[in-house]
């Protein structure tokens, strides 16, 4: 509050007599500071509400008497982590998740780059219908497709197959992948390819040597976001995989409570933390290098 009192004097000193006819501007400026304080306060309160659940996870993970209550762990202990860091509980589900989501992401990204090239570079009668179909399928709720997919997989005996689940995950992320990739590729001017074409490069060569290097940030954004959404996807592996030793962390965290002692909230929190860490780190890395979500938000503007 003290600063508020000082400001008018300071401003009067600064502007001196030079700017006489500015009472309107001065009142507007004077209103800016309290407004900014208010905005900051509101944002801090919202941040607090948003962060509370995360605080519970951190506290509970290092507490020996964790419950769903929010309590300071006293004294903090690493016992929960010791208890869960073994092959059965943590390492195998994480590895399964890595195989499923990593494989599906790789497939999805490569296939959508290939698909985006003709969509971005050539005009054709089929281009628009295809783009419409892709865009249309980004809107279809994948959740609704899971029952028919299950029935189909049962009939062709692909249930409980990690390879088939990987293929399905890749296909489900493909529409949005193609769409984003095409948008990013449209940002690379076609003129730059002309030189390569004149030198005799074919389409795939100019895609690999000219276009891709220039849209690397876009490819990275799509890759990281595809991986993050798959890493958290619960329903697909929950329905398509059965054997406990094939389940990724997204499903095993769900079975955690029933499989273990009902009161092991601390272990649940510790496991959640370990399971969440890779995607958070991936996201932070992305934000550092490319502006993360901001880039995605921009690409989705339409």
């Amino acid at each position: 509050m003290a600063t508020t009192d000082l400001r008018p004097a300071a401003r009067a000193g600064r502007s001196g007599g030079a700017a006489r006819p500015v009472p309107a501007v001065t009142t507007a400026r004077r209103r800016v500071r309290p407004a900014r304080v208010a905005v900051n306060l509101v944002l801090l309160v919202i941040s607090l509400l948003f962060v509370l659940p995360l605080v519970w996870m951190v506290f509970a993970s290092v507490s020996s008497t964790a419950s769903f209550e929010l309590n300071l762990p006293s004294p903090p202990t690493l016992d929960n982590f010791h208890a869960i860091l073994n092959t059965e509980t943590t390492f195998r589900p994480l590895l399964n998740g890595l195989l499923l989501c990593g494989g599906a992401t790789l497939l999805c990204v490569v296939v959508s780059i290939l698909a985006a090239y003709p969509l971005s570079r050539y005009r054709s009668r089929l281009r628009r219908p295809f783009l419409y179909t892709v865009l249309f399928s980004t809107g279809l709720p994948i959740t609704a497709v899971m029952i028919p997919v299950y029935s189909m997989f049962v009939q062709v005996e692909l249930i409980d197959s990690m390879a088939a689940t990987t293929l399905f995950l890749a296909a489900s992320a493909l529409p949005i992948g193609i769409w984003l990739m095409k948008n990013f590729m449209d940002g690379v001017p076609i003129v730059l390819e002309e030189a390569a074409r004149i030198d005799g490069a074919n389409a795939m060569q100019s895609l690999a040597r000219v276009v891709l290097p220039l849209m690397w940030p876009g490819v990275t954004v799509v890759t990281v976001f595809t991986f993050i959404s798959m890493w958290g996807n619960f329903f697909v592996p929950f329905v398509l995989l059965l054997s406990p030793e094939k389940l990724p962390a997204s499903v095993s965290v769900f079975t955690f409570l029933s499989a273990h002692d009902q009161t092991q909230y601390g272990q649940l929190a510790a496991f959640s933390l370990v399971y969440t860490l890779p995607v958070v780190m991936l996201y932070l890395l992305l934000t550092r290098k490319l502006g993360g979500g901001f880039a995605l938000g921009g690409a989705l503007k339409g």
Partner: protein, 304 residues
């Protein structure tokens, strides 16, 4: 004008056999076509077929065509109608009102805030978004639990504690989805606000327009397209939320938070009524498809 645009976009090389060439050009589309046909179009067609049968999880050989039975059954089933209603509440409450409004407010406020506060709010909101679905579900369960953090906050403010998950489970899952999904809207709107021409806002300010006036008459009309796109996308995302609700309440207590995806799952896998479950899935697909068509109309793939 038109020919210039065409030659800029058109292939650099003079064309040989046109049909053969465009076939060759389309070749990179093949892998995606294959994947989409087998794993998306296939199941959807299968869904349309299955929804008209009495397929069950056990004894698959005895499947019969039953016409519209599954649908007449659904629309006469109070549980289905309840799920349909709750889905509507969930989508409108948590996406259209919750995520959209909060996301826009956060984006607008963040522009005015000091840098550290902006980073903080971005960080925590996005953290909730990056969390895996089921983890988010557990954290929200702990948050709304009777002895949980939310009631602690209410207690500190002198407000009565609520047994959220028991008395108002649909509100709890709505708020949980707001917590988890707001980041998306916030990012879309931050990107959009960034492109609002500064001169426009300043001109309005000169004319003496207040904060609300500027927002309503200048900023919002300029970012209209982003608003529509965002509304559509979050509606579609929220329509298929399953893991979050299932981890928090499993649709309960009773059926008080049983949205269509949860209801569908329970009918198909817990009651082994694949045919009935598929019919519900088809309803969900049709709702999604309708929204998707509106979304397409709004976006209009660039005219060419």
């Amino acid at each position: 004008m038109e020919s210039a645009a065409a030659s800029a976009a058109a292939p650099v090389r003079p064309s040989g056999g046109r049909a053969g060439q465009s076939l060759l050009r389309g070749l990179p589309l093949l892998p995606s076509l294959l994947l989409l046909a087998v794993f998306l179009a296939g199941p959807i067609l299968y869904c349309v077929y299955d929804a008209f049968t009495d397929a069950q999880l056990t004894g698959a050989a005895e499947t019969h065509f039953v016409g519209l039975d599954n649908f007449t059954r659904a629309f006469g089933d109070p549980d289905f109608l309840n799920a349909l209603w709750l889905t509507l509440v969930f989508v409108v409450g948590s996406a259209v009102v919750g995520q959209n409004t909060l996301g826009l407010s956060l984006a607008v406020m963040a522009e005015k805030a000091t840098r550290p506060v902006r980073s903080l709010v971005n960080g925590v909101v996005i953290a909730a978004w990056v969390l895996p679905e089921v983890v988010a579900g557990y954290l929200m369960y702990a948050f709304f639990y009777q002895q949980g953090s939310l009631n602690d906050v209410l207690g500190m403010l002198g407000l009565p504690r609520q047994n959220w998950l028991y008395t108002l489970p649909i509100l709890a899952v709505c708020l949980a989805n707001v917590w988890r999904g707001t980041a998306f809207s916030m990012m879309v709107y931050s990107a959009a606000l960034n492109e609002v021409p500064r001169e426009l806002v300043e001109a309005a300010e000169m004319d003496g327009a207040g904060v609300w006036h500027r927002l309503w008459h200048v900023t919002l009309p300029v970012i209209r397209r982003s608003i529509m796109t965002n509304l559509m996308l979050i509606t579609l995302q929220t329509l298929s939320v399953f893991g979050l609700i299932y981890a928090m309440t499993r649709g309960g207590p009773g059926n008080k938070s049983q949205t269509l995806p949860v209801f569908m799952y329970q009918q198909a896998f817990q009651n082994s009524l694949i045919g009935y479950g598929t019919a519900i899935a088809l309803v969900l697909l049709v709702v999604g498809a309708l929204f998707s068509v509106v979304y397409l109309k709004l976006l209009k793939v660039e005219e060419d």
